[in-house]
Symmetry: T
Subunit: 70 residues, 12 copies
Amino acid sequence: MADNVYKKVEIVGTSSSSIEDAIQTAVRTAAKSLKNLDWFEVVETRGHIENGSVAHYQVVLKLGFRIEQD
Amino acid sequence: MADNVYKKVEIVGTSSSSIEDAIQTAVRTAAKSLKNLDWFEVVETRGHIENGSVAHYQVVLKLGFRIEQD
Amino acid sequence: MADNVYKKVEIVGTSSSSIEDAIQTAVRTAAKSLKNLDWFEVVETRGHIENGSVAHYQVVLKLGFRIEQD
Amino acid sequence: MADNVYKKVEIVGTSSSSIEDAIQTAVRTAAKSLKNLDWFEVVETRGHIENGSVAHYQVVLKLGFRIEQD
Amino acid sequence: MADNVYKKVEIVGTSSSSIEDAIQTAVRTAAKSLKNLDWFEVVETRGHIENGSVAHYQVVLKLGFRIEQD
Amino acid sequence: MADNVYKKVEIVGTSSSSIEDAIQTAVRTAAKSLKNLDWFEVVETRGHIENGSVAHYQVVLKLGFRIEQD
Amino acid sequence: MADNVYKKVEIVGTSSSSIEDAIQTAVRTAAKSLKNLDWFEVVETRGHIENGSVAHYQVVLKLGFRIEQD
Amino acid sequence: MADNVYKKVEIVGTSSSSIEDAIQTAVRTAAKSLKNLDWFEVVETRGHIENGSVAHYQVVLKLGFRIEQD
Amino acid sequence: MADNVYKKVEIVGTSSSSIEDAIQTAVRTAAKSLKNLDWFEVVETRGHIENGSVAHYQVVLKLGFRIEQD
Amino acid sequence: MADNVYKKVEIVGTSSSSIEDAIQTAVRTAAKSLKNLDWFEVVETRGHIENGSVAHYQVVLKLGFRIEQD
Amino acid sequence: MADNVYKKVEIVGTSSSSIEDAIQTAVRTAAKSLKNLDWFEVVETRGHIENGSVAHYQVVLKLGFRIEQD
Amino acid sequence: MADNVYKKVEIVGTSSSSIEDAIQTAVRTAAKSLKNLDWFEVVETRGHIENGSVAHYQVVLKLGFRIEQD
């Protein structure tokens, strides 16, 4: 295996239903423009409250993907 | 919009079913005595184990709310 | 109550379905060889991505258990 | 001097003009309901952007004050 | 056991004699106005120096207590 | 409101006059190529010294913006 | 001196009397099963409160010991 | 000197030979698409193990470069 | 350019007017006894409150300077 | 692929020649008693100085390995 | 009160008896060469183990003192 | 052994060849003016890039040395 190089970008996914859904939303949206997505790391979990109840989850992620080299 | 001021308090929600449920329990309990709850930040996720299985989740949150000014 | 002593070990649970399931998998596997498991602390949440979607969650935990003394 | 006890609360001040003004706004608002305010610590500096320019600064502070004992 | 909710407050105890005494001073003062105090976490240990010797210890604590629900 | 996705980028603004001006410089420069800029977070404040005086401030920021989805 | 290798384990000592006693309890208990204990690092200091007073201190330690090699 | 603006990106370099080589691999790969690379910061050093020996080093870097302004 | 060596010292500047002024005060005072001051890093921003208003800012800085070698 | 479980242990490798050699020493020593070693993470790099020169490097590592399940 | 400037130095005190004694030892030794010592902050608590028992405590402190200006 | 006291200073070593060489440069330079240097801790590793390649490594170290007492 050659010496690969990866890039990490920071994405925030949101969801009104669950933390996992917010992660999936972020990953799937990023996958539309980034190839070779390989792993994610949760950096921060937070969210908005409306009327005394959780309105949606916001999960800050780092996404890692391999850079293609010629 | 005037220059708002917010306060943050630290609350621990618990739940035997899920992390999201522990967050909701904390938010709803706090909402009984605090108006204008606006956002939450997860500070720590932990829990108790009984008989070799997760008994309940404990999620430490910061809750932010706007202070009403006259 | 005597002055107890506890040990903490670091375990990584994985699951293709949810963060809670990854935690349960780690706890139940550790419980096969460790008695008196008492609490867990989530240290890090990450995971692998395949085909632009979350393939599985990896949750790094510290598990605390009481050391039996004679 | 007797052994004093202090409490710290977390307040977020906002200002459209400067970081110092956001701190002053937070301190002065808190002083309306808290006596003996003694020091502040900046925990986080952030803000909102509108139309490609800073709209206001948000400064998260801890405020310390002495608890009066009888 | 129902799903409890806890609150954490940040208190600074001081003592001219020892770190443990500063912690006890903080806990006992807080107990005058807070019921159900359950645990403490040391956040920071510092102090003042006078005439080239420690004058008193200042211990910043988080105190956790159960919120009573109706 | 649908489940939005945001991206965060890390930018360093510099200014010889003030911290706020360094932040504004970073935000305005980023706004030339990024639409929907929504918030900033100060990560680090530093600067260069020349002839025993501050020559310019360097403020490291994270900038968050909404990703447009079709 | 050859190139030694050490292992670190995480132990929690408790004591109703002092922080130092909690450390000693942890070290002495660990020494029953681990040879060559060489140093400790305090990771966290916390404790339980009963009846508005400190019931016992809990000190989380890392203990380092040399691994014997043949 | 005008008030420059810089951007930081996060890159992971890998190498089977050394940490410095992993850094160089990351920098040289990034330099193919980024002009004005100015500095790097090591964020994390890790790696893979195969057959009980280090297979390759993975060094997570932040790379800073000046943004050209018209 | 030879391989330079730098030293960093930790200085606290105070000012009743602004954060920038506290930084300048620290830098200018340090420059009286230290040659070759090159950069600063803000470590912590705090201050004192008197009569419910900010009395002065305290900015903890690291100052870096080149060590002259013969 | 089933849901694997991993354990992480903390090991300190030392070497008089290089950081990489200290890492290799730690990994190879651990591999004598642990099967399935999969990755390492550098936690801390330090060392001893003798006669004004580096005597040896001490690298604190976390080592991850898969737990075999029946 | 004029705008004071302070310096912080990092000192490690040791003691075979207690953490407080290690702090006092550090402060008193530093006071022999530094005037105007004003406060200390505990950065780290660790120690050496001999024969399965704590041999001495090592407390890393930052000490702050006012710089006299003409 | 009496209760020793140590001081820690923060030094940045640079090298165009390797991280280890940057550490050695820092240690050897510091040893010209400081006696009893005992240990180092790597605080940060960074460097400059020129023409798309690493120009030199900058390693920020804490150096500990025993203070001689009369």
